[in-house]
Amino acid sequence: MQPDGDSLWATRASPPGLASSEPERRATYAAALQQFDDLMDAAAAVGPVSRPLPLYYAVHQAGKAIAAAWVKDDWRVRGHGLTEHKRDRTEWETNVLRYRVRPQKDQPGVFGAVASTVGVTRLTSSVEVGALWSALPGVIQPTSDRSWPLALPIYPISYDDAGHPSWVCVGLRGQLLENADEGNDLLAIYPDVVGARTTTYQGKLQVMSTPWGSASLCDCQTPKSKSGPRNLLLAFRSGRTFV
């Protein structure tokens, strides 16, 4: 793949973090990203039956580069940090969306090191492929049957005096809501908007059209939603607009 001025490949000449000043880290960073580049080329060249193999290892090697740049102590981290959650194969064999993986708690590996570096909550338990896929914003949904919560875009409409979003528009990503109760049931499964309620007017659910499809209006100023607006604001400021 050809690098552009704002790409991961372009950082090989000018590595970030500790890889900018420490030769061993710099060498690892550049080599791991060269492998990332080659593996992405390989992933693009093969069909979907084989693509996950080079694609995952491309990400893994990019993770090694990130560790070389940002992990302070033991930056030569090894291992995946993830493993299969072994179950009876009849539970997933005819539906790979039910296949599960889990973190290796005693061996955080490259995944754990990068998760710590980027400062996010790590994966703590087993998770299904369908749940992971549904939580990705901006990609096609795996199914339309609401088996797993979808990542939903949030657009703040108004803020309270403390600067927290008080009224937001939540993109539904094609999910149809018949009434306010259905909307509230949907919101209830998202911890970032706990306590938020769908907006109604004369008893009718308020839905608006957006360039991204239908969206429901939601009031976040309920007593139960103390943490919701803060999470929303943090998410919005950091560019994450999904619950």
């Binding site: 491309a58 990019a62 296949y99 990068v114 790590r122 992971l132 998410a235």
Partner: protein, 66 residues
């Protein structure tokens, strides 16, 4: 980015250790998820490098994972 990471790990395990079940999932004549799964893997080629760029150059701006 971490969501993609875990998802691609899971799909790579399926492709590596369960090739028959994985190929069946991608069979357009039999599997309802074959088309979205193929689109997902096409999208990954574009989306994942951009997310890794953010993680490598401004890791504190990465957002919550699973």
């Amino acid at each position: 980015m971490l969501l993609w990471w875990v998802l691609l790990f899971a799909l790579s395990l399926l492709a590596r250790y369960e090739p028959a079940a994985w190929r069946d999932a991608l069979d357009l004549d039999q599997s309802e998820i074959a088309d979205p799964l193929t689109q997902l893997l096409d999208d990954a080629l574009v989306i994942v490098p951009d997310l890794l760029f953010v993680a490598a150059t401004a890791p504190g701006h990465e957002h919550a994972g699973p």
